[in-house]
Amino acid sequence: MTDLTHSTTSAKRTERSATASMTYAIFLAAGLALLVIAPAFFYPIFLMKLLCFALFACAFNLLLGYTGLLSFGHATFFGGAAYFTAHAVKEWGLTPELGILLGVAGAAILGLVMGFVAIRRQGIYFAMITLALSQMFYFFCLQAEFTQGEDGIQSVPRGHLFGLVDLNQPTNMYYFVLAVFVIGLLIIWRFINSPFGMILKSIRENEARATSLGYSVARYKLGAFVMSAALAGLAGGVKALVFQFATLTDVTWQMSGEVILMTLLGGIGTLIGPIFGAGLVVTLQNYLATSDFPVTIITGVVFMVCVLLFRRGLIGEFYASRLGRKLGFEHR
């Protein structure tokens, strides 16, 4: 009798996951098509900013949603990489792709250091250690010469991609950013759905059991931390080229808070949730910036409403809704 129920539920599950991958494919194709034609309707700088923050939030979600670690210091990787990239292309004359790679490498090293110190603690202690370290990094950026203090690194040249494509052309720049964004998402997707991702999942499900199976839990968490930092750096490096500017704002603790907000709004542990969260926050900031009304109050209210009404975030709630389940999504 129990056997029968098990086989039917598992049959339902496979059927469901088949529908899910179908709907996923359709949604992805539609989303991508939308992003390809978007510059015809929206201001490219706005779209590029949105993509940068969306990638940043997705990188953050890799840690919070898929590893269960709440970092309060991700601005270090985002803003740090922005500085590295800006400095490399402006002062050393590197091509944009090399500059971005350098930013990513720098962010990964910062992630390795911060992760190494913080990973042995859990919950609030982990968050506090990352916050403290990122504040130290903020102070470093304020004092160091190459960041040019309060001024930031200004008029960063966008240069020519591979020495060929002129990124000063807004359209070229936009499609470059879009390509980086898609690549970033693909990396995250593969990371989650890999043998490594499977171990991360098992650690999140039952850490003691993973240890008793011989897994050095701290090392796997550190791996995820570094990957998340590197991808946040990818977003930061690209942002420096988009705005041609690397600034202290991107390494402040408020920036670390903002990415948490974006991820929670969109839905932690969903691949595309943070994209929507970032979209919402960036759009609000953008359109309210010109009005007299203070943006922070609006985003604060939106955040409270979300926490009170949609605990799973926008996309998380959608997955869990009747329509979402019918389309074959499953929310854990």
Partner: protein, 260 residues
């Protein structure tokens, strides 16, 4: 005491041993001066009333807790200061009192997670999930061996309690441990599952050592070669089941808590 009577020269080699093992939590001594020898191809039971320190001894042996005093030797090497994941890699694998499965993974994935590390497939973040399919043959063998074939693709969370315990044993066996520590493997199981698990334990002990905490004394009498009785953190008696169950102090310790 019947200790020396059972330990003749014909006994197989000792694979896990503890000497003077002690653990204090503040002023409370949970485990006091425990000596333990676990032998190859033997099922060794650790019994005793609630709060006797059985699970603490397990946590000490598997290094989930650091002993206050004493030493532990696994297969000839000192593991007193070795971290728990390393101990597991050396071949000492435990199960937990509360069933330890990965609830939102399928039965197959639960077993595959255990197989990933010994097959060096745990750090590749660039490979697709399908790369794990080469573990399926071995995983299916293990799943079949414990009788979970029909639940292969069900989520672990959907299994009955007894089936979860059986799955846990399958994942533990996936590591092919030299020494198997089972913390109350039969707790909360129906009679039918107890029979299954008993025969699995008897079978796996043919190639390895098993140390188990167990409350069900008829199971202990049935499958265990050697019994150690703990009371208030100390060893009260040791020997085969017949000898231990005749011991008057053991009878006294169990009075009121359990009728032997």
């Amino acid at each position: 005491m019947a200790v020396s009577a059972t330990l003749t020269d014909n006994e197989p080699r000792v694979v896990l041993s503890a000497r003077g093992l002690s653990k204090n939590f503040g002023a409370f001594a949970a485990v006091k001066n425990v000596d333990l020898d676990v032998r190859h191809q033997r099922v060794h039971a650790l019994i005793g009333p609630n709060g006797a320190g059985k699970t603490t001894v397990f946590n000490l042996l598997t290094k989930f807790l650091q002993p206050t005093a004493g030493s532990i030797t696994l297969l000839g090497s000192d593991i007193t200061k070795t971290p728990p994941d390393k101990v597991a890699r050396m071949g000492l694998v435990r199960s937990f009192q509360i069933s330890a499965v990965f609830p939102h993974l399928t039965v197959l994935d639960n077993v595959r997670v255990a197989l990933q590390r010994p097959n060096s497939l745990s750090t590749q973040f660039w490979l697709p999930m399908s790369s794990l399919n080469r573990l399926n043959a071995r995983a299916d063998e293990l799943i079949e061996a414990v009788g979970l074939k029909r639940e292969r693709n069900a989520l672990a969370a959907d299994l009955s309690y007894g089936r979860k315990r059986v799955l846990e044993i399958a994942t533990t066996l996936a590591l092919d441990p030299k020494v198997l520590l089972l913390d109350e493997p039969m707790a909360g199981m129906g009679q039918e599952d107890i029979g299954t698990v008993s025969s699995i334990i008897r079978k796996v002990a043919k190639e390895r050592a098993v140390l188990m905490v167990e409350h069900n004394l008829s199971v202990v009498a049935d499958i265990c070669h050697h019994v150690t009785v703990l009371q208030r953190g100390e060893i009260l008696a040791e020997g085969d089941y017949a000898a231990v169950s005749r011991d008057e102090r053991v009878r006294l310790a169990y009075m009121g808590t359990e009728e032997a």
